[in-house]
């Protein structure tokens, strides 16, 4: 193998290298910062990510590089933006959150950056091996991040770790079958081979099922969702936000890439499997979210339900469906990070993010309640918020492709889901608060949270009121997936 055929192209990796560089820089900087001043690392990390953001769309390389492992196309660029944005938000709200928990530390920030890097590797992976290492980098970082919350963290992290390791094993098993029938792990080469395979190739079915199960674990789809409520509840809330947004988006990115690019010839086969998973996930997530008393657990199940809806876009396997997945991921980043931010801010800091903590928030903190109401309305999919638009695009793509019953199930699950979102609004606006007042927040707190809340709220509204611009970008971004 000569070096030229590897197509070493540093530009295709530049945003990723920047994030890794930032992480290493923060890692080194950590040694020089005294214990009390670790929050500076948070600012460096968050602002660093913001500075990297404009570079992402600048380096689009449509030809796979590094022996076909990396592809920096518009598709991965779109997801990279989602990762960077949600990660910057999460780091920003971490600064105050960690201070309140009394566990400020440097490693928290650079591990978060490594997790982001892992997501970016996944999004631009053009090869099952590359995808797998990216996924491991992300997961490994999250195992540690979840454990960083004193008390509950260890339990959630252990569950996440053990089940995550199981799912990695299953994914690898699936990849090995894929290699078995195609002799390659590169998605483009695999696509060419798959077209020549007979319809009943057992390896193919095993690979589909096992890879599907591995990905389903990462997006917390039923019945592989069991880890998510515990991990979400145990993790520091900003980590939960990133876990539910970034890690899911990354999993969707590879899900779509592998199934749409490598296996389009067997769409009929895998769409049936994902159809069932999608339907079960939507219904299950919305039904089980209803009785939850802990707001984080409720959002965890809500996130399961959303994963089911997003999965519809993959089932459809069309440009419309894929662009809806991208659009949904971005919207979800805004509204879910926003919701978690309010949850982090409204809880009393002792770790019990109970729904009842939100009682009377409207009269105590009108703005906060307003933002939360907006995010809930958006998560529930009520117009004119972005959540509605995202759902609409997914449903519309499903309808166009003839998946009527799946669309009906999605509508049912959305109708059910409104109950628990409305309950949050109910608690905030229609219950009086008894008990200790929230501690007064410093100006510093208000600014860090305020920036995140305003940006997420603006995103949630703007993407709903004027979705065309971003949807156009999403449609163009999925172009590379469906041209081959």
């Amino acid at each position: 193998m000569n070096l030229a055929s590897l197509n070493i192209n540093i530009y295709s990796l530049l945003p990723l290298l920047m994030v890794v560089g930032l992480a290493l820089f923060v890692l080194v900087l950590d040694f020089f910062i005294p214990r009390g001043g670790k929050r500076a690392l948070g600012y460096v990390s968050a602002l660093g990510l913001v500075c990297i953001l404009p570079f992402v769309p600048m380096f689009i390389e449509t030809v796979p590089s590094y022996a076909g492992f990396v592809i920096a196309d518009t598709y991965s660029a779109f997801f990279n933006v989602v990762f960077l944005v949600s990660s910057a938000f999460a780091i920003f709200i971490s600064i105050d959150y960690l201070r309140r928990l009394g566990s400020e530390s440097g490693e928290y920030y650079y591990i978060m950056l490594f997790a982001t890097a892992g997501m970016m590797i996944m999004a631009s992976a053009n090869d099952l091996i590359g995808l797998y290492v990216g996924l491991e980098l992300m997961s490994m970082s999250f195992y540690i991040l979840v454990a960083l919350r004193p008390g509950k963290g260890a339990e959630g992290a252990l569950k996440y770790f053990v089940l995550g390791a199981m799912s990695s094993g299953i994914l690898l098993y699936g990849i090995s079958f894929a290699y078995g029938f195609s002799g390659t792990t590169n998605v483009n080469e695999m696509a060419a081979i798959v077209y020549r395979l007979p319809d009943n190739n057992t390896y193919l079915y095993l690979a589909l099922a096992l890879i599907g199960a591995g990905f389903a674990f990462k997006i917390a789809a039923f019945p592989f969702h069991v880890w998510s409520p515990d991990a979400y509840e145990g993790a520091p809330t900003p980590v939960t936000a990133l876990l539910s947004v970034g890690s899911k988006a990354a999993a969707f990115a590879v899900f779509l890439r592998v199934f749409a690019v490598a296996l389009p010839a067997f769409h009929g086969q895998w769409s049936d499997m994902l159809w069932v998973i999608s339907a079960a996930t939507m219904i299950f997530g919305s039904v089980v979210a209803i009785p939850q008393k802990n707001i984080i657990r409720m959002l965890a199940y809500s996130s399961i339900a959303h994963a089911g809806v997003i999965l519809m876009g993959i089932v459809v396997n069309s440009s419309a469906g894929a662009s809806a997945v991208l659009y949904y991921s971005l919207v979800y980043a805004f509204m879910n990070v926003g919701a978690f931010t309010v949850a982090a801010l409204a809880s009393r800091g002792d770790g019990g993010e109970q729904l009842t903590d939100l009682r009377g928030l409207a009269s105590r903190r009108p703005w906060l309640a307003f933002f939360m109401a907006l995010f809930m309305v958006s998560l529930a999919g009520i117009p004119p918020t972005a959540g509605f638009m995202a759902k609409f695009f997914v449903l519309a793509s499903a309808v166009h492709a003839g998946y009527y019953w799946l669309a009906v199930i999605a509508v049912i699950s959305t109708a059910i889901a409104l109950f628990f979102y409305a309950r949050v609004i109910f608690y905030m606006y229609m219950r009086d608060y008894e008990g200790a007042e929230l501690p007064e927040r410093s100006l510093f707190t208000c600014v860090t949270y305020g920036v995140v809340l305003i940006l997420t709220a603006v995103g949630t509204l703007a993407l709903g009121v004027y979705p065309s611009a971003i949807l156009d970008i999403a449609v163009r971004a999925v172009g590379p997936l469906f041209t081959i």
Partner: protein
Amino acid sequence: MEQLFFYIFSIVAIVSAILVVSVRNPVHSALYLIICFLQVAAMFVLLRSPFLAAVQVFIYVGAVMVLFLFAVMVLDLGKERLKDSMHSQSILGGALAIVLFFIAFYLVYNGDIVAPLGAYTETALMKNTEVIGAALYTKYIYPFEVVSLILLVALVGAITLVMRHKDN
């Protein structure tokens, strides 16, 4: 002949794996695990991958298990019965295992998943390490580098978590 060895190795591997979870003494458990790993290493040889076999022995049997034994001995973990940690789901777990086994057996028996074993070539036997090394530094350079990041994160994470517990 090869098949004979394969069956010997796999039966020993399965039996020792069962013993790992069923003996009461954690030290014995660890020792059975070593046996299990060794069988897997032997199977790698049968699969024409001597390098992997060596890695399996060095890393899993050597490093990981020794560390594990140290931990068990230093912490002086008590004995425990398997039942205590199974939460009365042993029957169901067993049933599922049998179902999985049945699926695999059916597929193999039906001839759905068969792959011819390659012949022993000189490259496979003598130059195995060289080939792998070359591949890692050319074609697989990208995942190889990412793996180094994973190791870094794992290292930092391990230290962080331990230090945290020490603080508390």
